[in-house]
């Protein structure tokens, strides 16, 4: 069987990211995922906030809503509460999702609304010309931090796990093999699927991830994790990760008998894996996945189970629920 052409989901709009931007290959993976998983354009909605990443809806031939800075999770929540049958994708960035929209992302994840979040992390504010972002490393020089940034960076995957996310994964923009399959898993998950994608901003933060993503360093600096498989990496997978019982941290070992097996349902292991960064190998793949009820599913089930009162009966309803007023004051 021929693979469906990803171009069927492309719009006729000229894509306006900088030439060479990592967003191009992410878009291709997204379009490919839609085509290969049988998404229907009229039942799919892309919702985004503000930033380079958030331009994506204009390039996807589905319904699309390019909203305001940081608020895409809230708008998308409204879409799902109105119509849970829609396939919804939220596209955001490190500034949009982790800074101005951090609160909404937190609550989207804890509610486990059934949609997919793509957080394109380039550790900079590209659209506003390169200021330091919430994921920028300490000491980052930028137009707003000429002497280097002072704050510690936020870690999206750890944030997501801490918010109660039921699906947390990490991928790389140009990984045309790994990223589409990650997106397929994200789409298949019932609940909020959170995918951090390391994205190379070639203008303002060029090669910030190169020490990890570069082909030459990939073997040593990346660990591809898979549920039920040992946590191996390095040349010919001769190294692995084990738990140091004293420090309760992961450490590298070449004694393969000690190597942990990835259990994506284990939230504790997920937190350890999400935290890994150079000089340790960074984890890519599905870090955590568990099945839980979705807010939108429960919301609609409850609404459906209710009997529609006639307006007349509502208008006549005796005032019997004013116990709320037993306390006179109200907080602000």
């Amino acid at each position: 069987m021929n693979k469906p052409d990803y171009k069927t989901f492309a719009t006729d709009r000229e894509v306006r990211w900088c030439p060479g931007c990592g967003d191009y290959s992410i878009l291709k993976s997204v379009l490919q995922t839609l085509a290969e998983t049988g998404s229907t354009p009229e039942n799919t909605v892309f919702v985004s906030g503000i930033g380079c990443a958030s331009r994506m809806p204009y390039y996807v031939e589905t319904y699309g809503f390019h909203t305001i800075h940081g608020r895409a999770p809230a708008v998308a929540t409204g879409v799902k509460l109105a119509n849970p049958a829609l396939e919804v994708w939220v596209v955001t960035g490190d500034g949009d999702g982790m800074s101005i929209g951090g609160n909404h992302l937190l609550h989207l994840l804890r509610r486990n609304i059934d949609l997919n979040v793509l957080l394109l992390n380039n550790e900079t504010y590209g659209l506003t010309k390169g200021q330091v972002s919430p994921t920028s490393r300490t000491g980052t020089r930028s137009p707003s931090t000429p002497d280097g940034s002072l704050a510690n960076p936020a870690a999206p995957c750890i944030f997501a796990l801490g918010s109660g996310a039921t699906f947390v994964a990490r991928g790389i923009d140009v990984d045309q093999k790994g990223l589409p399959s990650l997106l397929q898993e994200a789409k298949a998950h019932s609940g909020t699927s959170f995918v951090e994608i390391l994205q190379n901003c070639i203008v303002y933060n060029k090669d910030v991830f190169a020490p990890v993503t570069d082909k030459r360093s990939a073997q040593e600096q990346q660990i591809r994790i898979e549920h039920g498989k040992p946590l191996l990496f390095g040349a010919e997978l001769k190294k692995g990760l084990r738990l140091n019982p004293q420090t309760l941290a992961l450490e590298v070992t070449d004694n393969l008998e000690d190597v942990l097996v990835h259990d994506e349902t284990n939230a504790t292991l997920a937190a350890l894996l999400a935290r890994l960064s150079p000089p340790m190998p960074m984890a890519f793949g599905i870090i955590h996945r568990r099945r839980e009820a979705t807010f939108d599913g429960a919301f609609h089930a409850r609404q459906k189970a209710r009997e529609a009162p006639s307006l007349d009966s509502l208008a006549r309803r005796a005032i019997i629920h004013d116990h709320r007023q037993a306390s006179d004051g109200e907080s602000t």
Binding site: R13, P41, E42, N43, V45, I50, P57, Y58, E61, T62, Y63, G64, F65, H66, T67, I68, R71, P73, A74, V75, A76, T77, G78, V79, K80, L81, A82, N83, A85, L86, N103, H104, L106, H107, F299, Q303, K304, R306, A308, P309, L311, D312, L314, A315, R316, A318, I319, I320, H321, D322, H323, R324, Q325, A326, S327, D328, G329, E330, S331, T332
Partner: protein, 626 residues
């Protein structure tokens, strides 16, 4: 002090005020008293006046919570200027209420609370029950605490728990005094405490004890049972309704009239939460309720719902409305229906959360970045909130625009006696989905923005139901294709389109009529929003006393209804009364410059509704100045 003359004086209207600690259940007492008043068929108006703290320190003057209700045979539009009956549950409540009540008013106090400690807390040097401090009032001390404890003795409750039933004793007492039915209260107690039989029995016993106390020989000789002439009601069904209840009912009506679902998205804030609670308890499957993580999210979720074909509704008070501002701009840019309900409260910033004000009018009309017009509608009374919600939603759904509905803290919590709305007689609501239904499948994006010739509304194309995939957002878009456009001429055209679209709403509105008085009167008193009742009673009284005064009260603040300027231009002098420093006056001056020189203002910003007498005095000043 003699006690032989206590009696509620026979009169057409009574104003009763309950005052006590925040924890004494004053709102509950007032609410149930009001229910019985309505049940008996009297016209009524109420006011909740409470502190921002849930449980302010007991016995403090700043922790006093009060509930006021006016009732009478007919035509009650306000909670009354000055109570003629005060029930004070402690010295602090007496202290803060004294300046408010009318000379000769009956004051019922719980004398058990007038001990040294409580008196000191309230700032009384001497016990006002002994001495001349209350000369001129008709003081009736009752050992409410002792009587309640006595009545609850069989239930072997802890003393503090038993004392909490004091308000039920007082309710029983007052219901007897005014000849009002106990049934609504008894029904409520049975339902509310059905799972706690001990409390059910205790509260029932307290009500009955208060009732019996008033009915027994020892009180009967000092306290005559009161009856008021019954209201000459038209044959119809009536109920007592609070503003928040009317809003909720209105939203349910909108879903039926427009044949769509609604999603009500809100974040807790005083006093708007009353609507959130009301809708949550309505449990209407066609009106979903979503408590969002913040004000911005609640507006954005409502916008998302509207994009997906459900009418999004968001509700807040001034500070929350300010937070929603950017999202409203998105709603305007992307041309989606959205209803924003603003329960105004006293500002600025956090201001006085539990006090009422009309100071968000200019925020509603102008308070957004860019040229971002939207329609603004205001409700005038608790029951009118029902119709105002429908009017506002009708505009949002027909014209594909966010609409702000202004109510306020007073309206949301106040109750009035009102005819049941005749829902079957309301015209259906036309939505712009019809424009989308007329589009062919797989329409080009430029067809998706083909506008209605009269309203300029765009079709409401909805994900999942039509093959009309299109992208919208906050960026400026081409007037025809809907694609992003940075073109200068296009931005000019789109800006004017957004302006014209809102101006054209006027063509679909009914005209504003005079409420009372003649169009050749010497003075027009003009208001908007919740001041309707006070202005109504004041103008009626002035007309009855022979003055040439008329009243108009605007429903549509932006754009104005058709011929509003003509209506105003009939009058040589216009007194604009509002609870702010002159926001409607500013709007009228700019919208209708021809009447600008005729405008005088009466403005009060004390956190409380107008009193009738205050408006009458302002009218009197207008004639005195001639």
């Amino acid at each position: 002090m003699t006690t032989t003359s206590h009696r509620v004086k026979t009169r057409d209207y009574h104003v009763v005020r309950f005052a006590g600690d925040s924890g004494d259940g004053m709102q509950l007492s007032g609410h149930h008293f009001t229910n019985s008043v309505g049940y008996a068929g009297f016209d009524l108006g109420t006011l909740q006046d409470f502190p921002a703290e849930i449980r302010a320190p007991a016995g403090s003057t700043y922790g006093v919570s009060a509930f006021q209700v006016q009732f009478g045979a007919a035509d009650v539009h306000t909670p009354g200027d000055s109570p003629d009956v005060l029930v004070a549950f402690n010295p602090a409540a007496l202290k803060v209420s004294l300046p408010l009540i009318e000379p000769g008013a009956l004051i019922i106090v719980d004398e058990a609370t007038f001990n040294d400690r409580q008196l000191k807390k309230a700032g009384f040097d001497d016990n006002p029950l002994h001495g001349k401090a209350l000369a001129g009032f008709d003081v009736y001390p009752i050992d409410i605490t002792g009587q309640t404890l006595q009545a609850l003795k069989p239930f072997e409750m802890k003393r503090p728990d038993a004392i909490r039933s004091r308000n039920f004793f007082v309710l029983g007492f007052l219901l007897w005094t005014f000849g009002l039915p106990r049934e609504p209260l008894a029904d409520w107690i049975r339902d509310r405490f059905k799972s706690r039989p001990q409390i059910l029995k205790a509260n029932t016993a307290a009500v009955n004890a208060g009732h019996a106390f008033a009915d027994t020989a020892e009180v009967a000789h000092v306290f005559e049972r009161q009856t008021i002439a019954e209201m000459p009601l038209e044959a119809a069904e009536y109920r007592t309704i609070r503003g928040a209840e009317a809003v909720a009912l209105g939203l349910s009506a909108v879903s039926r009239l427009a044949n769509i679902d609604l999603l009500f998205c809100s974040y807790p804030i005083t006093p708007a939460s009353a609507i959130l609670h009301e809708l949550a308890n309505t449990k209407d499957p066609q009106v979903g309720v979503f408590q969002a993580e913040d004000e911005i999210a609640s507006c954005c979720a409502a916008i998302g719902a509207s994009y997906a074909g459900t009418l999004g509704v968001t509700s807040s008070s001034g500070p929350g409305i300010a937070l929603k501002t950017e999202a409203m701009g998105l709603g305007i840019a992307s041309e989606l229906p959205l209803l924003i309900i603003d329960s105004q409260r006293a500002g600025p910033s956090t201001g006085l959360p539990t006090k009422t004000e009309q100071s968000d009018l200019l925020q509603a009309v102008h308070g957004r970045n860019g040229d971002t017009p939207l329609p603004v509608v205001a409700a005038r009374s608790p029951a009118d909130c029902f119709h105002a919600v429908i009017d506002a939603s009708r505009i949002a759904l027909r014209h594909m625009t966010p609409v702000i509905l202004l109510i306020d803290g007073y309206l949301a919590s106040a109750a009035e006696f009102s005819r049941l709305p005749e829902i079957d007689n309301l015209p259906p609501i036309w939505t712009s989905k019809r424009l989308a239904d007329a589009l062919p499948d797989r329409a080009e994006q430029d067809k998706i923005f083909k506008r209605d010739a009269d309203s300029l509304a765009r079709p409401w194309a909805i994900p999942g139901t039509h093959k009309l995939m299109y992208r919208i957002g906050g960026l400026e878009t081409d007037i025809d294709s809907g694609h992003i456009s940075y073109d200068a001429a296009n931005h000019q055209a789109k800006t004017m389109l957004r302006h014209d679209k809102i101006q054209r709403v006027t063509d679909f509105l009914p005209t504003e009529a005079l409420v009372q008085g003649e169009s050749d009167s010497q003075l027009l008193v003009l208001g908007w929003g919740s001041t309707y009742g006070a202005i109504f009673e004041a103008v009626r009284a002035e007309i009855n006393s022979g003055r040439s005064v008329a009243q108009a009260h605007l429903r549509f603040l932006h754009p104005f209804a058709p011929e509003t300027e003509d209506l105003l231009a009939n009058f040589e002098r216009i007194l604009i009364a509002e609870i702010n420093v002159g926001q409607l006056a500013t709007l009228v001056r700019s919208e209708s410059p021809c009447v600008a020189s005729r405008i005088a203002q009466y403005n009060k910003v004390s956190g409380l509704p107008f009193k009738v007498q205050e408006i009458r005095d302002a009218i009197g000043d207008m004639f005195a100045n001639e």
